[in-house]
C-alpha cells in the first residue's frame, strides 16, 4: 500500500508516518519544509521513506501533490495550522486557518481529484461539536455548533471532503480527534502545562474547579485509528479518543502521580467559562475495529520522560 501523508512533520504526522512505514507501506511524507519527520521519542530511526516539499497555501501545491497520488494511493490529510485546544482564535489566526485548513484542504482534494486516489483520511476535530447540548457522551450524530474558528474550519474541511467523495466516488473518512498528547507535544494547553509544572517540581495549577471534561488521545492511538481507517472499507465520520472520560482535575492528579509527587493541584479562579465534551467512540470501535492501546497514565509518564530528556521541561 502507498500512503501520502500531509502535515507529516507535525506531532500527529510523525506517529502516522512511523506506523505506516513500519507496516511496510511506501510512505510519502509531505510537509512545507520537505524535511524527513523525526521518529517519535524513544523510537528507532524510521525506515526509508520519500519526502516531498509542498506548500498547501499555494496553488502550485495541486500539481506537486497530484504527482505523488494515484488510484492505488491513500491520502492521509493532516496538515493544519493549529492544534486543537489551544488559545482563542484572533482574526490573524483565523486568516491562517482559512489559508491552510480550508484552502489547503481544497487544494489537497483537488490534487486527489486530478490524480485519483484509493481513499482520503482526514484529521478533523472534536471542536466541531461546540458546547454539548446534553450530558450524554457526544456521538457522531450530535449537532455540530462550533464556537471556535478551529472547529469551524475543520467542519468546513469535512464538508469539502464529503462533497469531493460524492463527486469523485472516492471513499472518505473524517476522524474527529480531541487534544492529541504524547511526546513531542509543544502546544500550550492543560495536559502539557501540568506535565511541565510537575517536571519542575511544582504542583499543577487548574483554572476553576477543573470538573469539565477534557478528552484525550495519545498520538500513537490517533495514528492507529488512521491506519484502521485506511485499511478497512469504512467511510464517514468517527470520533477517536482514548475511550475514557477525563476531567481537567483528573489530568492534573495524573500528572502529579506520573512525577511521583505528593500534594494536590492548586485551583485558580477561571478567567473564562470552561466547556468540554466527552465523545463516544462506539462507532470507531464497531466499524473501524479501533481499540485504544495507551492508557492515560502511561502516556503521560512517557510525555514527562520526553519533556525531561529533551530539555523542554524548563522551556
Amino acid at each position: 500500500m502507498k500512503v501520502v501523508v500531509t502535515g507529516a512533520t507535525g506531532h500527529l504526522g510523525r506517529s502516522v508516518v512511523e506506523r505506516f512505514a513500519r507496516a511496510g507501506c511506501a510512505v510519502v511524507a509531505v510537509s512545507r519544509s520537505g524535511r524527513a519527520p523525526e521518529p517519535p521519542f524513544g523510537h528507532p530511526a524510521l525506515p526509508r521513506m520519500e519526502t516531498l516539499a509542498v506548500d498547501l497555501c499555494s496553488d502550485a501545491a495541486v500539481g506537486a501533490l497530484a504527482d505523488a497520488l494515484g488510484p492505488e494511493v491513500t491520502l492521509v490529510h493532516l496538515a493544519g495550522s493549529r492544534p486543537p485546544g489551544t488559545s482563542d482564535s484572533t482574526r490573524a489566526a483565523r486568516s491562517a486557518l482559512l489559508d491552510l485548513d480550508v484552502m489547503g484542504t481544497q487544494r489537497a482534494l483537488e490534487a486527489a481529484s486530478r490524480a485519483g486516489v484509493r481513499a482520503v483520511i482526514y484529521a478533523s476535530s472534536a471542536e466541531v461539536y461546540g458546547i454539548p447540548q446534553t450530558p450524554d457522551a457526544v456521538s457522531e450524530e450530535s449537532a455540530t455548533r462550533p464556537i471556535s474558528d478551529y472547529g469551524v474550519v475543520k467542519l468546513s474541511g469535512e464538508d469539502h471532503l464529503f462533497a469531493f467523495a460524492a463527486e469523485s466516488a472516492v471513499r472518505a473518512v473524517a476522524l474527529r480527534f480531541p487534544a492529541i498528547y504524547g511526546p513531542g507535544e509543544r502546544v500550550s494547553r492543560a495536559l502539557p502545562s501540568f506535565l511541565r509544572a510537575v517536571a519542575a517540581g511544582r504542583v499543577p495549577v487548574v483554572s476553576g474547579d477543573g470538573s469539565e471534561q477534557c478528552d484525550q488521545v495519545h498520538a500513537a492511538d490517533a495514528a492507529l485509528a488512521i491506519e484502521r481507517a485506511a485499511t478497512t472499507d469504512a467511510s464517514g465520520v468517527f470520533n477517536v479518543t482514548d475511550g475514557e472520560a477525563h476531567s481537567v482535575r483528573a489530568l492534573a492528579a495524573t500528572a502529579l502521580e506520573a512525577a511521583g509527587l505528593s500534594g494536590a493541584p492548586e485551583h485558580h479562579p477561571a478567567t473564562k467559562p470552561c466547556v468540554g465534551a466527552h465523545l463516544s467512540i462506539e462507532r470507531a470501535r464497531r466499524v473501524l475495529g479501533f481499540q485504544p492501546e495507551v492508557p492515560l497514565a502511561e502516556g503521560m509518564r512517557e510525555q514527562l520522560a520526553w519533556l525531561r530528556a529533551s530539555g523542554e521541561a524548563t522551556a
Partner: protein
C-alpha cells in the same frame, strides 16, 4: 432623510430587487458590485487583497450591511473556482462584518441559502444547525460563512442575522433555470418537459419576498436565523403545471400540461420542507403564493419579449 444601508452584491438578481424595495421604503441603499457592474462602489471581492476597512472608510457611516455577494458555479466542488467562491462568500463576508461593526456598529444581514441544510424528514426550521451542505461549493461556502460569522460575533458582540432563501424566482431571473424554462416553453405553445419522475420536492420563493426578509431583518436589527422560503414545498411536476396556468392567465397559450421525460434523470433535489414560522413572527413577512408569483414572472417575461420585438429594427 432615511437610513443608509450598504448592499454588497447590489447588481445581482436579489440585489436589484432589494435596492428597489429599500428605496420604496425611504431607505438609502448604497451598492457594492463587482468591477464593471456600475455599482456605487465597484470592488473585486474575489481578491485576497480586498480591504473591507478601506471600503468602510470610502462608504461612510451606514446603519446596516446586507451581504449578498456570491458566485453561482455549478462546476467541481474542489478547484480554483470553488476557492474563489469560498473567498467571496465566506472570507470576504466575515471580514466585511467585522470592519463595519468596528467602525459603525452596523447591523449585518447575511444572505445564506437552504443549501446549508442536509436531508431531513422533518420540516427544517432555523433552530436546525447547519448540517452537511449539498456537494457543491456554493452550499459549503455558505455554511462556512455562517459558522465564521457566528464565532466572530461571539468575539466582537456584533449583531447578526442570517437569512436562508430557497430557490429564488421572479421577474429578472436568469433564463437557464427551471421556472423560466417552463414558462418559455408555455409561451412557445409547447408542453414543459419535466425530467425524471417529477416527484422531487422543491421550495421556490419570490425574489421580492427574499428582499423583504432581508430588509426587515436589517431595519429591525433582528438576530438569528430566518428561512426565506415559499409558502410550501411542491413537486417539480406541480410547479410545471402552475407555470402552464400562469402563462394561460396572462393571455398566453391555453390548455397546456407538463409532460414527463423519464429517459433523462431528474435533478437530485433533497426533498426538503421548511418552517418559516419564525420569519413570519419576528420579521412580519408573508410568503407570496407560488401561483401569484409565477403570474408576475410570466407577465414580466411577456413584457420583456414585447420590448425586444419593439426594439428590433
Amino acid at each position: 432623510m432615511g437610513s443608509r444601508v450598504l448592499v454588497i452584491g447590489s447588481q445581482g438578481f436579489v440585489g436589484k430587487a432589494l435596492r428597489s424595495l429599500l428605496a420604496e421604503r425611504g431607505t438609502n441603499p448604497v451598492g457594492v458590485g463587482a468591477p464593471g457592474t456600475s455599482a456605487d462602489f465597484e470592488v473585486d471581492l474575489t481578491l485576497p487583497s480586498y480591504d473591507p476597512e478601506a471600503l468602510a472608510e470610502r462608504v461612510g457611516a451606514v446603519e446596516g450591511v446586507i451581504y449578498l455577494a456570491a458566485r453561482i458555479t455549478r462546476g467541481s466542488c474542489v478547484g480554483a473556482e470553488a476557492r474563489r467562491n469560498l473567498t467571496v462568500i465566506a472570507d470576504a463576508a466575515v471580514r466585511t462584518f467585522e470592519a463595519f461593526h468596528d467602525r459603525y456598529r452596523a447591523h449585518f444581514v447575511f444572505c445564506s441559502s437552504i443549501k446549508v441544510y442536509g436531508p431531513s424528514e422533518q420540516p427544517l426550521g432555523p433552530e436546525v444547525p447547519v448540517l452537511r451542505p449539498e456537494p457543491y461549493s456554493y452550499g459549503s461556502a455558505k455554511a462556512l460563512a455562517e459558522r465564521l460569522l457566528v464565532t466572530s460575533a461571539l468575539r466582537s458582540g456584533g449583531q447578526l442575522a442570517v437569512v436562508r432563501p430557497s430557490f429564488i424566482y421572479g421577474p429578472g431571473q436568469r433564463a437557464d433555470n427551471a421556472i423560466p424554462i417552463f414558462l418559455s416553453a408555455c409561451f412557445a405553445g409547447k408542453a414543459p418537459v419535466v425530467f425524471g419522475h417529477g416527484r422531487e420536492l422543491r421550495d421556490d420563493v419570490l425574489v421580492r419576498d427574499v428582499a423583504e426578509c432581508l430588509a426587515e431583518a436589517c431595519s429591525r436589527r433582528a438576530t438569528g436565523v430566518f428561512n426565506a422560503t415559499g409558502e410550501r414545498s411542491r413537486t417539480l411536476f406541480e410547479v410545471a403545471e402552475l407555470c402552464c396556468r400562469a402563462v394561460e392567465t396572462v393571455g398566453g397559450p391555453a390548455g397546456l400540461h407538463p409532460v414527463l421525460d423519464p429517459s433523462r434523470p431528474g435533478k437530485a433535489w433533497i426533498d426538503q420542507r421548511f418552517d418559516r414560522t419564525r420569519t413570519d413572527a419576528v420579521l412580519g413577512c408573508r410568503a407570496t403564493p407560488l401561483f401569484e408569483g409565477l403570474v408576475e414572472q410570466a407577465r414580466w417575461m411577456r413584457e420583456q419579449a414585447a420590448g425586444q420585438r419593439g426594439a428590433a429594427p
